[in-house]
Symmetry: C2
C-alpha cells in the first residue's frame, strides 16, 4: 500500500500520518511507502518510511513528479485557508484550484487509477440556508475559498466518472477542538472556549450562547479520511462529494458539556465579550446538516459534544485537565 498525502504538514495531515503510522495498514494492506508533500517540509513520522516533498503543486511538472510513485491512495489535503484565500485572490486560485487540478491531471495522465480522497468544506454553502441543510442543497459559496472547493469537487466528480481516478470528496464541518494556539479565524473561539479553560487559561466568547454550529473532532476528521479511503466506490455512486456528519450544538451546550466534564471552576475561565464583527460573520454560517448519505455510507462523527471534549483531553492533554 503506497500512500501520498498533500498538505501533510497541516494539523489534519499530521494527525492522519500519526494514525496511519499506528495502524500500519490501510484497506487491509500493509503500508509500504508514504509520500508526504507540503509547502514546508512535513515531519517524518516514527515507524513509517516516508519520502518528503516540498513545493508548489501548481508549478509545471511538480504534480507529475509527486505521483511518479503511483500511489494506491492519495489524500489531497493541501490548500490555503479561507481568510488567506479571501485576502490573496491570485494565491487562493493558484493553490486551491490550480494546484488541485494539476494533481488531478497528473493522475489522469499517468493513468494509474488511485483512490483519491479530497478534503472539501462546508464553506461550499452560502446563506440563506434552511435550518437543516439537506444533502441535495445547492452550493452557493460566499467566499473564494468555498468557490475553489466547489470547483475542485466538480472536477473530482467528473474525473471519477471518466475513470481517471476513484475520488471521494468529504466536506468537513468545523473541526473542534483544534489543538494549538488561538488564531485569527472568526471560528477560533469554538475551540478556544474549550481548549484554553482546560489548559488553565482564560478564553473569550465573542458571540451569544444561542449560536448553533456543527463540529467534529480532529480524531473524527481522520476517521472520515480513513473511511473515505476504504469505502467501496460502487456504493457511493456518481455523487462523490459528501457532507460529513457532526455534532450540532449551541455554544451554551458546548459550555454545559465542558462543565459536566471539567467542573464549574474551569468554565469560569470563559469570559463573555461580545464582538459584533465576529458575530456578523458567524451569523452567515450554516448551522446543521442532514448528512444522511454520509451516515448511511458509514461515516461516523461523535454522538455528543461531551465525546468531542473527551477526545481532546485524551489526544492532546494525556487525559489530564488543569
Amino acid at each position: 500500500m503506497r500512500i501520498l498525502i498533500t498538505g501533510a504538514a497541516g494539523m489534519v495531515g499530521r494527525k492522519l500520518i500519526a494514525r496511519l503510522a499506528k495502524d500500519g495498514s490501510l484497506r487491509g494492506r500493509k503500508i509500504s511507502s508514504l509520500d508526504l508533500h507540503d509547502i514546508v517540509p512535513p515531519e517524518t513520522p516514527a515507524g513509517l518510511d516516508a519520502s518528503i516533498h516540498t513545493g508548489d503543486l501548481a508549478e509545471a511538472g511538480a504534480a507529475a513528479k509527486l505521483v511518479a510513485s503511483r500511489p494506491d491512495v492519495i489524500f489531497h489535503l493541501a490548500g490555503i485557508v479561507s481568510g488567506e484565500a479571501e485576502a490573496n485572490f491570485d494565491l487562493g486560485y493558484r493553490v486551491n484550484l490550480d494546484g488541485t487540478r494539476a494533481l488531478f491531471d497528473a493522475v489522469r495522465l499517468a493513468a494509474f487509477h488511485p483512490r483519491l480522497v479530497f478534503t472539501s468544506s462546508i464553506a461550499v454553502f452560502g446563506a440563506p440556508f434552511p435550518d437543516v441543510i439537506p444533502d441535495e442543497f445547492h452550493p452557493t459559496p460566499l467566499t473564494s475559498y468555498g468557490t475553489q472547493k466547489q470547483m475542485s469537487e466538480a472536477l473530482l466528480a467528473d474525473y471519477t466518472r471518466r475513470g481517471f481516478f476513484d475520488g471521494i470528496g468529504i466536506r468537513l464541518p468545523t473541526i473542534c477542538v483544534r489543538p494549538g494556539k488561538p488564531n485569527k479565524a472568526a471560528s477560533s473561539f469554538f475551540s478556544g472556549i474549550i481548549r484554553e479553560p482546560l489548559a488553565g487559561q482564560e478564553a473569550i466568547l465573542p458571540v451569544p450562547r444561542s449560536v448553533l454550529h456543527t463540529h467534529a473532532s480532529p480524531r473524527s476528521a481522520v476517521g472520515f479520511l480513513i473511511h473515505a479511503a476504504e469505502i467501496d466506490g460502487d456504493r457511493v455512486g456518481p455523487r462523490r462529494n459528501l457532507t460529513m456528519p457532526g455534532v450540532a450544538v449551541t455554544v451554551g451546550e458546548q459550555i454545559e458539556a465542558l462543565e459536566r466534564i471539567a467542573g464549574a471552576e474551569v468554565v469560569k475561565r470563559i469570559r463573555e465579550q461580545p464582538d459584533e464583527t465576529i458575530w456578523a460573520i458567524v451569523k452567515g454560517w450554516p448551522t446543521r446538516f442532514e448528512a444522511s448519505r454520509a451516515r448511511e455510507l458509514g461515516f461516523k462523527a461523535e454522538s455528543s459534544f461531551d465525546e468531542i471534549i473527551r477526545a481532546h483531553i485524551e489526544d492532546e492533554l494525556n487525559g489530564k485537565v488543569n
Copy 2:
C-alpha cells in the same frame, strides 16, 4: 453602449445579433459598437458597425485583446457542445473552462466592471432528480460539459461577489424549435418532429410520446439574454446563476400542438421508430424546473408549446407552412 459577444457565429449568437441590430439599443442606450468573437468569423450584421475577432480565448493574451474596447455588456456564449466536450476531454476543458476563466480574468485585470451574461445549461443537473427541480437543487452533472458549465457558474458568482464584473448566468433549457438541419445530438428529435413536418419532410420520433421535457424557443433564449443584460443586479442578489423558465410538455403534447397549428396531414410526416440508445440517454434528463427565481425576476418563456411552434413559423418560415 459597447457590446462584446463571444460565440457570435452560433445559432443563439446570430439571433441575438439580429435582435440587437433591430432594437438598436440596450439598457436604454444606443448601441455604438459591437465586438463579435468566435472560432470562425461571425457574420457582420446589417445596420450595426461590428469588429470581427476570431481565435481561441484560452490562448495567452487573446482575452485581454478582446476586452480592450472595455464593453459595457459582454454576452459570453462561446463554448463547445456537450457531445464534443465528452468526446474530446482536453478541448472541452480548454474551451469551456479555460476560455471562460481567461475572459473573466481579462475583465478582472482591466477593471472596467461590465455586465457579463453567461449562457449555462440545465446540463449542470444530473440524475436522479425530483419530478420538478427546485431552484435550490444541487448541480451534479453527468457530463464534462455540465461540469465545465458548473465550474464557470461558480467563477461567475465569485467574480461578481468580488466586484470584478456584474455577472448573470442563465441556465438554458432545451432550445426548440432549432432552425437548420437535424444533428447527431440525442435531443435533435425534439426540434426535428416539428421542424421537418412543417417543411414538408419526414421526421423520426425515437422515443415514446410520454417523454416529458422543458423547452424554450430561440426567440425566448434571446429574450433571456437581453433581460439578463438589463436586469438590476441588486435585485438578483448574490445567487447569480438562474435556471430559466420554459414550457414543460410531453412529446405527445408537442405533436398535438403541431396538429392544432398545421393540421393532421403535417403530423402524419412524423414516423415513430423507437431507438433504445436515444431513449436511454433521454431518460436520464431532467424533465421540469421550478425556475421560480427567474420568473420572479422577470424572465419570460412561452406559455404553451403552440406559441413555440408559432414563433418558429414566424421567425424561420416567413409565417408559412408547407
